[in-house]
C-alpha cells in the first residue's frame, strides 16, 4: 500500500486530570448551567445515514436552485469582490436592512430601517438581546414548552426562567397575568417575555389575535419588554395570519427577531433584531464585542438575491412543499400513533408537538426508537425544569414524504410496544388514558397537567 503523507500538524498534548481540575477551577460560574447531556450523545447516533431523523429543524435547502446560487455569487464576485470580502458596519448594510424591511412588510410590518441590526442568524439575535437585558438571577418569562435553542442562551446568562403553559391558542395569558402578579408581590420585575407567537417551536401552535392584543396591552401597562421571535411567520399553510406583536405594539415594547434561515438559507447565518433605539444601541455594542459584523459576503448575496425579485416565489414553493409534508405527517400520526397520544395541528412552521401517556419517557423512547433507526427530539429539551418528559418534537420540513410515513410508522410501533408493556405491568383503567380515536390536542392545558418528570425518585437520572 502506498502511504499517503500526512500534513504535519501538532496536536495538543493531552490534558491530565490535574489540568482538568485546574480548568474546572477557572470556569465562570455561568458554565455550571451550560450542560451537555446524554441527549447530545444520543444525537450522535441520529446522525448516522440509516436513521430517519425527525429530530432536526432543517429547512429543505435542496429546493434552492444551484444555478441561481452560482449566478448570484458570480455577480457578487464580479461586481463587488473587494467590498464583499471586507469588514462591514456592525449594524449591517443599509441594503440588507432594505431586504429585511421587505420581508417584514410581507407580514404587515413597517419598521424604521434605523431600528434594525443585522445579526449572525436568529440565534445571535436571541443571544444579543439576552446579553443586553439579563443580569444573573433576572426573571425571563417564556412559553412552556419553549424553543430548545433559547434555553441554553437564557441559562448561560443565569436567568431565572419561568415558563407559562400554552394551549391551542398559544401562551395562556391568564396564567401569564397570574405569574406577573406573583412576581410583583415578590418585588420582582421580569426583564422580558420571550415568545415565538407564530407556529411556535416546538409547540406548533399560534397565539390568537385576542391574546396578542392582551399581551401587548400588558407589556405597555407594566412597561415590560416582549421579545417576539418570528422565524416561521411566512411559512403559513392555512388559516388567517394574526397581526405580529410588533405591528400591534408599534415597536415600543416589542423587540422583534427575524431570520433568513427558513425563507432562504440557514447556512448564510443572517438574522436581525428590531428594537427601540436605546435598546438597539446596546445590542449593537454587544454585537461589536461578539463578532464585529455579520458576514459581508452573505449580506451581498442576499442583496443580489432580493434584487432579482424572486424571493416571494421561492417562499411560495417552500410553503407548497412543507404543507404537503405537514399533511403527510398528520395523516401518518393518525394512522400509527396510539389512541392515548395527542398532537398539535400547526397551520405553518416546521414542527408538530406530540404528547404521549405520562408513563412514557421520550428520552428512553428515543433510545428504543434508534434501534429502529428513527429519531425525534425528546420534550424535556424545551423545558428548564424537567417537564416535557412524555412529549416529543417532530420535524416535517427536512424529510421526504416517504421518510415521514416510514419514520412515524416506526415511532408508532415502539410507542405501542411500550403502551402494551405498561398495560401488562400496571393493570387498572385509571392509569392508562385511552380514548376511542386519536385526537389532536384541542386543549393543551389538559395535557400540560400531565407533563411531569417521571424520574423523580431518589434524584435518579438516566
Amino acid at each position: 500500500m502506498t502511504e499517503v503523507p500526512q500534513p504535519p500538524h501538532k496536536r495538543r498534548a493531552h490534558t491530565s486530570t490535574r489540568d482538568l481540575e485546574r480548568y474546572a477551577g477557572l470556569f465562570a460560574e455561568r458554565t455550571t448551567v451550560m450542560r451537555s447531556s446524554a441527549m447530545r450523545d444520543l444525537m450522535a447516533v441520529t446522525a448516522r445515514p440509516e436513521v430517519i431523523s425527525l429530530a432536526g429543524g432543517l429547512p429543505d435547502t435542496s429546493t434552492f436552485p444551484a444555478e441561481s446560487l452560482a449566478a448570484q455569487m458570480s455577480r457578487v464576485a464580479a461586481e463587488s469582490a473587494a467590498a464583499a470580502l471586507q469588514y462591514g458596519p456592525t449594524e449591517g448594510f443599509d441594503e440588507t436592512k432594505d431586504c429585511i424591511v421587505e420581508v417584514m412588510a410581507a407580514e404587515g410590518m413597517l419598521p424604521d430601517p434605523d431600528d434594525i441590526v443585522v445579526t449572525t442568524g436568529g440565534q445571535q439575535a436571541i443571544d444579543l438581546v439576552a446579553k443586553t437585558l439579563i443580569d444573573p438571577g433576572d426573571v425571563v418569562i417564556c412559553e412552556a414548552p419553549t424553543y430548545p435553542g433559547a434555553v441554553p442562551v437564557f441559562c448561560s446568562y443565569q436567568a431565572d426562567v419561568r415558563q407559562v403553559e400554552m394551549d391551542a391558542e398559544g401562551m395562556r395569558i391568564d396564567l401569564l397575568e397570574e405569574l406577573l402578579a406573583e412576581l410583583r408581590a415578590a418585588g420582582r420585575r421580569p426583564k422580558f417575555i420571550y415568545t415565538v407567537p407564530t407556529f411556535q417551536n416546538p409547540g406548533g401552535v399560534t397565539l390568537s389575535l385576542e391574546r396578542r392584543a392582551r399581551l401587548v396591552e400588558l407589556a405597555q401597562e407594566h412597561e415590560l419588554l416582549v421579545v417576539e421571535d418570528n422565524p416561521y411567520g411566512l411559512l403559513r399553510y392555512g388559516g388567517e395570519a394574526p397581526a405580529p406583536l410588533y405591528q400591534l405594539d408599534g415597536g415600543d415594547f416589542v423587540i422583534y427577531l427575524g431570520t433568513f434561515s427558513k425563507i432562504l438559507s440557514p447556512g448564510i447565518r443572517l438574522g436581525w433584531v428590531v428594537a427601540p433605539p436605546p435598546v438597539l444601541e446596546k445590542v449593537v455594542l454587544g454585537k461589536g464585542a461578539a463578532d464585529l459584523c455579520t458576514s459581508t459576503l452573505t449580506q451581498f448575496f442576499v442583496r443580489q438575491y432580493f434584487a432579482e425579485g424572486g424571493w416571494k416565489n421561492y417562499v411560495g414553493d417552500l410553503v407548497g412543499l412543507y404543507r404537503g409534508r405537514r399533511d403527510t405527517m398528520l395523516a401518518a400520526l393518525a394512522e400509527h400513533f396510539p389512541a392515548a397520544a395527542t398532537w398539535t395541528e400547526p397551520e405553518g412552521g416546521l414542527f408538530i408537538w406530540a404528547t404521549l401517556p405520562e408513563y412514557i419517557d421520550t428520552e428512553d423512547l428515543l433510545a428504543k426508537a434508534l434501534r429502529s433507526d428513527v429519531a425525534f427530539v425528546p420534550g424535556r429539551a424545551a423545558y428548564v425544569d424537567g417537564r416535557g418528559a412524555n412529549s416529543m418534537r417532530l420535524n416535517f420540513s427536512g424529510v421526504t414524504d416517504a421518510e415521514i410515513r416510514e419514520g412515524i410508522a416506526r415511532i408508532g410501533r415502539v410507542i405501542r410496544e411500550q403502551v402494551e408493556l405498561y398495560e401488562t405491568l400496571a393493570p387498572g383503567p385509571a392509569e392508562v388514558p385511552s380514548t376511542a380515536a386519536p385526537r389532536p390536542a384541542a386543549d393543551e392545558a389538559d395535557e400540560a397537567d400531565n407533563v411531569f418528570p417521571l424520574r423523580k425518585a431518589g434524584g435518579a437520572n438516566g
Binding site: 486530570t17 490535574r18 451537555s36 450522535a44 408513563y359 408493556l421 405491568l425 438516566g462
Partner: protein, 308 residues
C-alpha cells in the same frame, strides 16, 4: 506499529466511544505508532483484512462494542486486541450473567431479579412484582441487563413507580434487572492486568447520583483519587475488585464499580472496556499511580500480548 482503533459503531454510547478513541489515537501517534481509526460498520472485516493492523485497540462502549461482538471477529481474524476476550466481554456487558458469575465466586453483590419482556407479556410476571418488591425493599434500582453509562437506569421509590421504571429500562434491552439499592460511597477500581490502580471515589455535585451526564462532563462530578479509605476498607474493596475480574475472566483491563456501604463493599458491575475520555475514571486512576495517558496506552498494548 500499525494500531487499528475500533470506535463508534451503532451503540448508544457512540459519542463517548468517539471521545475515548480520539484520545487514544493522539496518544498512539505521540508514542510513534501508526493509528488507524475505524468507525465500526458493515465494512469492518473487509477493512481489517485490507489494512492488516498488528493490533486492534478496542475503544468501543456499550452494546455492539463492549459485548464481545467485535472481539469475536478479531479472534477469528487472528488480530490481537486490547482488553478482555470475547467471552469475558459478553459476561461483563450482561449484568444478569455477571451477577451469576459473581455470586458463584462468592463476591458480595446486591440481590436482584431479572425478567425478560416475554415474562411480563406471556407469563404474567407482573403478578410476582409485589413479592419481589417485598424481598428487595424500596428504593430499588431497575436496570437494562445490557448497556453501560447509566443509560436507562431508574430508581423506584415506591411500588407505583416500578412499572414506569420497567418500561424505561426495557427501552434499552429486552431483559431488565431489579436490584436492591445499595447506599454508600461510589467507588471505582480499575485493574490493569492483575494490578489494581488507586481507587477513585465519585462525589457528584449537588448530591445527584453519578448519572450519565455527570459522568462525562468536566466539573459536574468531583473525583477523589486515591479515595480516602482506611487500610481495611481499601483492602476489602481491592480484594472484591480483583475477585470480580477473576470471576468474570477479565484480562487486560477492566473497571469494577463498587458501593462501599456500612456493612462492606458491594460490587455492582465490571466494565470490560472502561471509558478513556477526559473525565473517565481509568485514566484518572492511572495518573494517580504516576502513569501518564501515553504510558497507560502502552501498558494496555503490552497486555494485549505485544512487545511494543
Amino acid at each position: 506499529m500499525k494500531v487499528a482503533v475500533l470506535k463508534g459503531g451503532r451503540s448508544l454510547e457512540r459519542g463517548v466511544s468517539l471521545r475515548s478513541a480520539a484520545r487514544v489515537e493522539d496518544a498512539l501517534e505521540r508514542l510513534g505508532h501508526e493509528a488507524l481509526p475505524i468507525d465500526v460498520g458493515p465494512d469492518l472485516v473487509k477493512r481489517l483484512r485490507a489494512e492488516r493492523p498488528e493490533v486492534a485497540f478496542v475503544a468501543m462502549h456499550g452494546v455492539g462494542g463492549e459485548d464481545g461482538t467485535a472481539q469475536e471477529l478479531l479472534e477469528i481474524l487472528g488480530i490481537p486486541f486490547t482488553g478482555p476476550d470475547a467471552a469475558a466481554c459478553a459476561r461483563c456487558i450482561d449484568k444478569v450473567m455477571a451477577k451469576a458469575a459473581m455470586r458463584g465466586g462468592g463476591i458480595p453483590t446486591p440481590d436482584s431479579f431479572a425478567f425478560t419482556q416475554t415474562a411480563f407479556r406471556e407469563l404474567g410476571a407482573a403478578d410476582a412484582l409485589a413479592d419481589l418488591e417485598g424481598t428487595l425493599g424500596f428504593p430499588l434500582v431497575v436496570k437494562p441487563s445490557r448497556g453501560g453509562s447509566s443509560l436507562g437506569i431508574k430508581f423506584a421509590g415506591a411500588p407505583a413507580e416500578v412499572p414506569g421504571a420497567l418500561v424505561a429500562a426495557f427501552s434499552y434491552d429486552d431483559r431488565v434487572m431489579l436490584e436492591r439499592y445499595a447506599a454508600g460511597r461510589e467507588l471505582a477500581v480499575s485493574v490493569l492486568g492483575t494490578e489494581p490502580l488507586p481507587i477513585v471515589e465519585a462525589i457528584p455535585d449537588g448530591g445527584d447520583r453519578y448519572d450519565f451526564e455527570a459522568r462525562y462532563e468536566i466539573g459536574r462530578t468531583r473525583f477523589v483519587c486515591p479515595a480516602d479509605l482506611s487500610p481495611t476498607e481499601r483492602a476489602a474493596v481491592t480484594d472484591a475488585a480483583l475477585a470480580t475480574c477473576k470471576a468474570l475472566g477479565c484480562e487486560g483491563f477492566a473497571r469494577v464499580d463498587i458501593i462501599l456501604a456500612a456493612d462492606g463493599p458491594w460490587v455492582l458491575e465490571a466494565n470490560a472496556i472502561p471509558g478513556l475520555t477526559d473525565t473517565s475514571l481509568l485514566p484518572q486512576a492511572a495518573e494517580a499511580a504516576g502513569m501518564s495517558f501515553e504510558e497507560l496506552v502502552e501498558r494496555i498494548l503490552h497486555l494485549a500480548g505485544l512487545q511494543v
